[in-house]
């Protein structure tokens, strides 16, 4: 019977100690502990979500980087192409100009040559005339006496000249 009869003193002390324990633990243990746990959970959730966000941003960044790289490559290719074209054009132009110049030079050279030839021919004719005159003078001086021989000689001379 003693076993199932609650003692008055025990009820009193248990109530007192339990209430004190409840109050003290609530104030100094449970509230700080529960708050710390909640804070930590919040912090973990925050950290996870911001990590996700960072990952997303990273992805975006990587994507835009790749885009930028591709653009740059394109640009480089374009520039190179352009440069090649310009180079070819310059070379072409240069060649054209050079050949034109060469043509001009050749033409003027030919002109010169012709002119020189003409001049030479003229001089030659003049020389020939002089020589003919010299010859004629000498013939005249020697053969004037014989009209037949004179004529023959003159003919010979003439044919020589025509030959020239």
């Amino acid at each position: 019977m003693e076993l199932i009869t609650p003692g008055l003193g025990l009820i009193f002390w248990m109530t007192l100690v339990f209430l004190a324990l409840l109050f003290l633990l609530k104030k100094f243990a449970w509230i700080p502990i529960l708050k710390a746990l909640k804070d930590r959970e919040d912090a973990i959730t925050d950290a996870l979500s911001s990590a996700d966000k960072a990952k997303e941003e990273m992805k975006q960044l990587q994507f835009s980087n790749e885009q930028l790289l591709a653009e740059a490559k394109n640009e480089r290719d374009n520039i190179l192409n352009e440069a090649r074209k310009i180079k070819e054009k310059i070379i072409e132009e240069a060649r054209l100009k050079a050949s034109e110049e060469a043509g001009n030079i050749t033409a003027s050279a030919l002109e010169n040559i012709r002119n020189e030839k003409m001049a030479a021919l003229t001089e030659l004719k003049n020389e020939v005339g002089q020589l003919s005159l010299e010859i004629a003078k000498r013939i005249l001086q020697r053969e004037l006496t014989d009209p037949k021989k004179q004529e023959e000689y003159a003919r010979q001379l003439l044919s020589e000249i025509n030959f020239n």
Partner: protein, 384 residues
């Protein structure tokens, strides 16, 4: 034979503050190793003539100190005005505890050792097992109100101090490493705290209102759990049957009842007074259903009280029963006693492991049911 008889007298005393298998084995060896010269005839205790089971030895004793398992077990599981540690022959080691009495408008306070050897003090004496009465106790004399710091009260205070020590240091650990992984004691207790928060409070009371009840639920859970565990420890700060004391469980059940009633909303009380879905003639003119409902709200904490008390006390009684078996058989024959001790020790180890499980389960059940009652009291009416 002589060893065994000596042991028989010593053991019940040890048994009082909880006999546990693990500690028992070294003691056995110790007693076995005593030189036989040390045991004189005076030490041999003989059983009372009226107890036929123990009446094996031809010698007689002046005082009956026969081993009575019922008395031994009851002495252990009930409260006591002193805390027994050890008793060997005439040497008795116990912690005397303060006696505080209120009688006839006066307060008396003295040490319980004043009652040793059946002495009386300031007009009071110990009667029966452990009840303090006035010397002039006749019908009509003033009643004695006993507010002594008994064994159970001291155990409650020790466990309360232990809890304060543990949980305040854990709270400090939380303040110290903010948002970091728990360490040491903190990491041992955090799963339990989270378990109570998530699986007991949140699921029973609901996300919105659980926070208000958390301090109470945590306190009762750890108080019951710690005292259940301490009850299994055979040495001094443990061994008291705190959660197996009906006054202790009564106080906790009353707290749950008061909290439930105070936090009961309109919906909760209307359901009790005017239970929906019940024919009107069960409510008028004789309020049958309201009476049943009111019995129901009282039954709930009552069941809480009895369940914890009965489970823990039963565990202690069974363990002590196994110990008693050794001495009952030992009184018949020493060899038989040694033989039975092996079986008893094995069973006690098993029981202790079971009690460890029960210690947790009972703390869990008490907390869970309290949370469920709070949940019922604060539930919002369902809209159909």
């Amino acid at each position: 034979m002589i060893f065994f008889q000596k042991m028989r007298r010593q053991f019940p005393v040890r048994s009082r503050f909880s006999l546990r298998a693990v500690l028992l084995i070294p003691f056995f060896l110790l007693f076995h190793g005593l030189p036989s010269e040390a045991v004189t005839q005076d030490n041999v205790n003989l059983v009372a003539a009226n107890d036929s089971v123990f009446a094996k030895n031809g010698e007689t004793e002046k005082k009956s100190e026969a081993f009575n398992p019922g008395d031994m077990i009851m002495e252990h599981v009930t409260d006591n005005h002193e805390w027994h540690i050890l008793e060997t022959g005439s040497f008795k080691l116990s912690i005397p505890l303060p006696v505080i009495l209120y009688s006839d408008g006066k307060v008396y306070a003295f040490c319980s050792s004043r009652f040793h050897n059946g002495l009386s003090y300031q007009g009071f004496r110990l009667a029966g097992k452990d009840k303090i009465v006035r010397m002039d106790a006749i019908p009509g004399s003033p009643k004695v109100y006993d507010f002594s710091i008994t064994k159970t009260v001291l155990a409650i205070m020790i466990s309360a101090l232990l809890m304060l020590l543990i949980f305040i240091s854990v709270a400090k650990a939380y303040a110290r490493n903010v948002n970091k992984a728990p360490k040491g004691m903190q990491s041992m207790l955090e799963p339990l705290i989270l378990f109570i928060r998530d699986d007991i409070a949140k699921s029973s009371i609901g996300e919105k209102k659980y926070e208000k009840y958390m301090p109470y639920l945590l306190t009762i859970f750890f108080f019951i759990f710690l005292n259940n565990i301490l009850g299994l420890v055979p040495i001094f700060p443990g061994g008291a049957n705190v959660t197996g004391n009906i006054a202790v469980t009564l106080v906790m059940a009353v707290f749950t009842f008061i909290l439930t009633s105070v936090s009961g909303n309109k919906h909760y009380w209307i359901d009790i007074v005017n239970t929906p879905g019940v024919p009107w003639w069960l409510k008028l003119p004789i309020p049958l259903m309201p009476v049943v409902e009111i019995i129901g709200i009282i039954t709930k904490p009552f069941v809480l009280m009895v369940r914890l008390f009965a489970n823990i006390t039963a565990g202690h009684i069974i363990a002590l029963g196994f110990i008693s078996l050794i001495f009952i058989f030992g009184a018949m024959n020493a060899a038989l006693g040694y033989g039975v001790s092996v079986v008893s020790v094995a069973f006690m180890i098993f029981m202790n492991l079971l009690e460890l499980l029960v210690a947790f389960i009972q703390a869990y059940v008490f907390t869970l049911l309290s949370a469920l009652y709070f949940g019922l009291a604060t539930a919002e009416p369902e809209h159909h």
